[in-house]
C-alpha cells in the first residue's frame, strides 16, 4: 500500500521530480478514500479546499444544469491526475462537480497540509504552476475551436459538422488518453453535440415557415377581388389608367 502511494506520487504531475523527503512528508499527510461509482468527491458550489489525486479509476468533471437532469461534461480524469486544485489555490467555492465513473481510490491533501509542506519546499509550488499551465493550454485549445465553431453557427454555416465527422473529429472519436488534444476533443464532443442540436432545431423551424406560407383561401380572394373590380370607381379608374398609359406611350414615341 505505502509503496503504491509512493509510486503514484513519484509519477504524478505535481510531485514527480521532488526529493524523496517531500514525498515522504506527503505520504504522512494524505488520506486515502474509496468512492463508489456515481458518488461525488467534489460538489459544485461547496466551500472546501482539499485537492484530490486519483489513484485508480476514472472521474468526470461536470457542471450540473440548473433544475434539470442534464449536465455538461467538462473533462474526464484518470489515475495520477489531480482534481480540485482551483479551490486549493483561491479558496473560492467549487466550480464543478467531480463524480466517480468507476470504483475509485483517491488521495486527499488538505490546503493546510499543502501550505505547510510548500513553506519548506517552495519547488512544489512551481510544479503545481507547471501543471496548471498545461491545463490552461488545454482550455485554450478547446476555446479556440469552440469560438471558431460558434462564429460559424452564428453565420448559419454548419458545414463544419460534416467536415469534422468525415475527418473522424470530436463527434466520432473516443480517445481516453490523457494527452491535451485528446482531452480537448472529449470536451469538444459535448460542444459538437450541441451544434448538431442547434442545426436540427433550425431545420425544424424553417420547415414551419413552409407551412405558414401556403395558406391563401382562393375562394375568399376571388370574392374580394370581385367586389372591388365590380365597383363603378374601379371601372372608371381602369379606363382612365388606360388613357394615361396610352398618352404616355405616345409621348415616349414622339
Amino acid at each position: 500500500m505505502t509503496q503504491e502511494i509512493y509510486t503514484l506520487l513519484k509519477q504524478s504531475e505535481w510531485f514527480s521530480n521532488l526529493p524523496d523527503e517531500v514525498i515522504h512528508l506527503l505520504m504522512e499527510r494524505v488520506k486515502t478514500h474509496t468512492v463508489q461509482p456515481g458518488e461525488a468527491i467534489i460538489q459544485r458550489g461547496q466551500q472546501d479546499d482539499s485537492v484530490f489525486m486519483i489513484q485508480s479509476g476514472w472521474v468526470k468533471v461536470v457542471i450540473p444544469e440548473e433544475g434539470e437532469e442534464g449536465e455538461m461534461v467538462l473533462n474526464h480524469v484518470g489515475p495520477g491526475e489531480m482534481v480540485g486544485e482551483l479551490s486549493l489555490v483561491d479558496q473560492r467555492p467549487r466550480s464543478a462537480s467531480v463524480i466517480a465513473l468507476s470504483e475509485l481510490s483517491v488521495l486527499e491533501l488538505t490546503r493546510r497540509d499543502f501550505l505547510e509542506i510548500m513553506e519548506q519546499y517552495p519547488m512544489m509550488g512551481l510544479h503545481m504552476l507547471i501543471t496548471t499551465s498545461k491545463r490552461m493550454r488545454f482550455v485554450l485549445t478547446y476555446l479556440e475551436q469552440a469560438v471558431t465553431w460558434s462564429h460559424k453557427i452564428a453565420e448559419g454555416d454548419y458545414s463544419f459538422l460534416e467536415e469534422e465527422q468525415a475527418a473522424g473529429g470530436p463527434g466520432s472519436v473516443v480517445d481516453h488518453s490523457a494527452s491535451d488534444s485528446a482531452r480537448a476533443n472529449r470536451f469538444l464532443a459535448a460542444f459538437f453535440q450541441m451544434a448538431q442540436d442547434v442545426q436540427k432545431r433550425e431545420a425544424e423551424l424553417k420547415e414551419q415557415v413552409k407551412k405558414l406560407i401556403i395558406q391563401i383561401d382562393s375562394g375568399k380572394r376571388d370574392h374580394e377581388i370581385e367586389q372591388i373590380v365590380g365597383s363603378d370607381f374601379f371601372a372608371k379608374l381602369k379606363l382612365e389608367t388606360l388613357q394615361i398609359r396610352e398618352e404616355r406611350d405616345k409621348s415616349k414615341k414622339a
Partner: protein, 259 residues
C-alpha cells in the same frame, strides 16, 4: 422619363413609411431628383422620419388639395434642412422634397368627413413632378384598398407591395397583387419586411415568389435596432452596414435599373 413609385401594403404597420423614406433617401443620394408624398392623409407618419413636426412642416397637401396653395409651397426641401442626426446629414445638398400631410386633428377629420378628390390628387402628383423636375416620386400610402389607394396603384410605374411573412398578411396581399395586375402596373414587386431571423431568407423569397407569382425585391429582417432607432432618423443612412440597410439598397438597385 420620371417614375412614380408607390409603396403599399394591405395591412397597416408593415413598414411602408420607413421603407418609403429609406428608398427615397437612397435614390436621392444616388444623385436623382426625388419627391415623397404622404398620401396617408388619415394617419400621416413619414414626416417624423425627417424630423418634422406640425409646425416645421409648413403648408400641407391638404391645403393644396383644397386649392389654397400652389404645390411648390407644400414641398419641403430635406436637402436644405437635414437636422443634425447622423443619418440625415448625409442628405445635405441633395434634391429630396417631402410633400407632407397635415397632422392637425381638425384637418384629418375634415378629410375623413369630406373625402378628397382623387383626380385632384392625380393632378397634384403630375404638378409636383413637373414643377420640381423630379426623376422619381415616391408615394407612401394608406393601407388597404380604398379609392385613394387604388388610384395611387393605378398611376404608379413601380409598385412595391410590402408584406410580413405572417399568415395575417397573405390573404390581403394576394388580393392586392391581383388588383395591381388588373390595373396593369408595369413593375410590380413584393418586399418582405419584418422577417424573423429563424427564417431561411432565400427559401422564403422563392416560396413567396412562387405563391404570388411576383418577384420579391428583397427580404428585410425584423430588427430590434430599428425599434431602437425610434423613427428618429433614416435607418439605412445611419446604419449603412446593417442587413436591413443592405436589403434596402438591393431594392434601390432594382428601382434604378427600371428607371
Amino acid at each position: 422619363m420620371s417614375k412614380i413609385v408607390s409603396i403599399h401594403s394591405f395591412r397597416g404597420g408593415t413598414g411602408k413609411s420607413n421603407t418609403t423614406a429609406n428608398l427615397a433617401a437612397q435614390v436621392a443620394l444616388a444623385g436623382k431628383r426625388v419627391g415623397i408624398v404622404d398620401t396617408d392623409i388619415q394617419s400621416p407618419g413619414i414626416h417624423v422620419l425627417f424630423g418634422l413636426d406640425g409646425v416645421s412642416m409648413g403648408h400641407t397637401l391638404n391645403e393644396y388639395l383644397r386649392g389654397e396653395v400652389p404645390i411648390e409651397e407644400v414641398a419641403f426641401n430635406i436637402g436644405d434642412h437635414t437636422g443634425d442626426v447622423s443619418g440625415r446629414v448625409k442628405l445635405a445638398g441633395q434634391a429630396l422634397y417631402l410633400f407632407p400631410s397635415s397632422i392637425k386633428g381638425s384637418e384629418i377629420s375634415r378629410v375623413l368627413k369630406d373625402g378628397y378628390d382623387a383626380n385632384k390628387l392625380n393632378e397634384g402628383l403630375q404638378d409636383m413632378i413637373k414643377t420640381l423636375n423630379l426623376d422619381y416620386l415616391f408615394i407612401d400610402t394608406h393601407p388597404g384598398l380604398n379609392e385613394e389607394t387604388l388610384l395611387s396603384i393605378s398611376i404608379s410605374d413601380i409598385l412595391i407591395l410590402i408584406m410580413r411573412p405572417d399568415n395575417q398578411d397573405f390573404q390581403g396581399t394576394a388580393v392586392t397583387v391581383d388588383i395591381a395586375k388588373l390595373l396593369l402596373v408595369d413593375h410590380l414587386h413584393l418586399l418582405v419586411n419584418k422577417a424573423l431571423s429563424r427564417y431561411d431568407f432565400g427559401h422564403l423569397k422563392a416560396e413567396i415568389e412562387g405563391v404570388f407569382d411576383t418577384p420579391v425585391a428583397a427580404v428585410l429582417p425584423l430588427t430590434e435596432d430599428m425599434v431602437e432607432n425610434a423613427s428618429g432618423d433614416i435607418f439605412s443612412l445611419a446604419f449603412p452596414d446593417h442587413p436591413w440597410s443592405k436589403g434596402i439598397r438591393q431594392v434601390v438597385d432594382t428601382i434604378l435599373k427600371i428607371g
